[in-house]
Subunit: 201 residues, 2 copies
């Protein structure tokens, strides 16, 4: 993004360190969720003392929000990088597939769960909300384009389609099918994609 060439060594070090912290947070958040993740664990995972964590991030909420914001920005970058001449419906499928692949590799679900302390914190985080609204707008345009092209049912409001795709990216079915070890990761993703867009019937 920024093109300033000269960051002091100390500044670079700081960025690397903070990335490592967010990485650990990301992983723990995906594995245990916000409420069950402890700051002790994050610190231990990064290999620093807990007090040092608080020099970088003022609270558990802020730390988790940083991880969620990074995910959202990656998602935005992916959506902006989609081939614009591709059929809109294929672009939408590509977004969901990408989100599911991220989750398979230990990433976070796109949306925060409802019953978690994190949700309220995120709603008060303007940076997060801004990114989310940007994503909603981009996705909304794709959905309307796909509908105009006859690839999405006309009786479904844009909003319903949008939430349905978001929800599918967090679908617990992924975890259930994976613990079975009966299907490959690719198959599981195919199942989720095809049931989301094509339905069960």
């Amino acid at each position: 993004m920024s093109t300033e060439p000269k960051l002091s060594f100390k500044q670079q070090q700081l960025i690397v360190r903070e990335n490592a912290i967010v990485d650990a947070t990301n992983s723990l958040l995906a594995k245990k969720g916000f409420d069950l993740m402890t700051m002790d664990e994050v610190a231990a995972d990064v290999g620093i003392a807990k007090a040092s964590l608080y020099k970088h991030f003022p609270s558990k909420e802020a730390l988790a929000a940083a991880a969620m914001i990074r995910l959202l920005e990656n998602t935005l970058a992916f959506v902006r990088g989609l081939a614009p001449d591709q059929p809109a419906i294929d672009q939408l499928k590509g977004v969901l597939q990408w989100a599911l692949e991220v989750r398979m590799k230990g990433g976070l679900p796109t949306l925060p769960a409802e019953n978690t302390g994190l949700r309220e914190a995120l709603l008060n985080n303007t940076r997060y909300i801004t990114r989310l609204m940007d994503l909603n707008e981009l996705m909304g345009e794709l959905i309307e384009k796909a509908r105009a092209q006859g690839a999405i049912r006309a009786d479904l409001p844009t909003e319903v389609v949008l939430f349905t795709i978001y929800a599918r990216s967090c679908d617990p079915t992924l975890d259930y099918l994976r613990t079975n070890e009966q299907y490959s990761d690719e198959q599981v993703i195919d199942f989720l994609l095809s049931t989301c867009f094509g339905g069960l019937q």
Copy 2:
């Protein structure tokens, strides 16, 4: 179920009290989730002291399990009461619709969230597991019948269909659409049912 006619007054009182406790647990569990629900809240909601709670249920996990088991047993009763001559696909839709209506009225989602302390406790609760396996079997039979009748895609394993329906009964889309207040409860349920079985396309 049991047909013994004579329960002492004290025993009846006990049952009523425990039902009230499970009611409160159910409601709080639906609203805040397992980790954020506190025993103080449950006690306050019922109108008894926290210590009294522990005379009825030995732990928070056991209390939450009781609520989940009651939900499972209600679900089983509903499935067993379905008209057997109805097309299997309609019976499946009926189950999902019923589960969504329960949730709308402040009930619990059918499955526990992954990242919650409750999940592990439930996996060690034989009573819960037994009920869950019973339900899985009944639903599995319905799914296979529906597939034989050509109403379910032949390329989807029974397991995938089963989990997809379960997951849909816990779908966060319901909450998101409801906070919008743009659609009636019936409309929201219709959206969820039709996207689940019919897909987005």
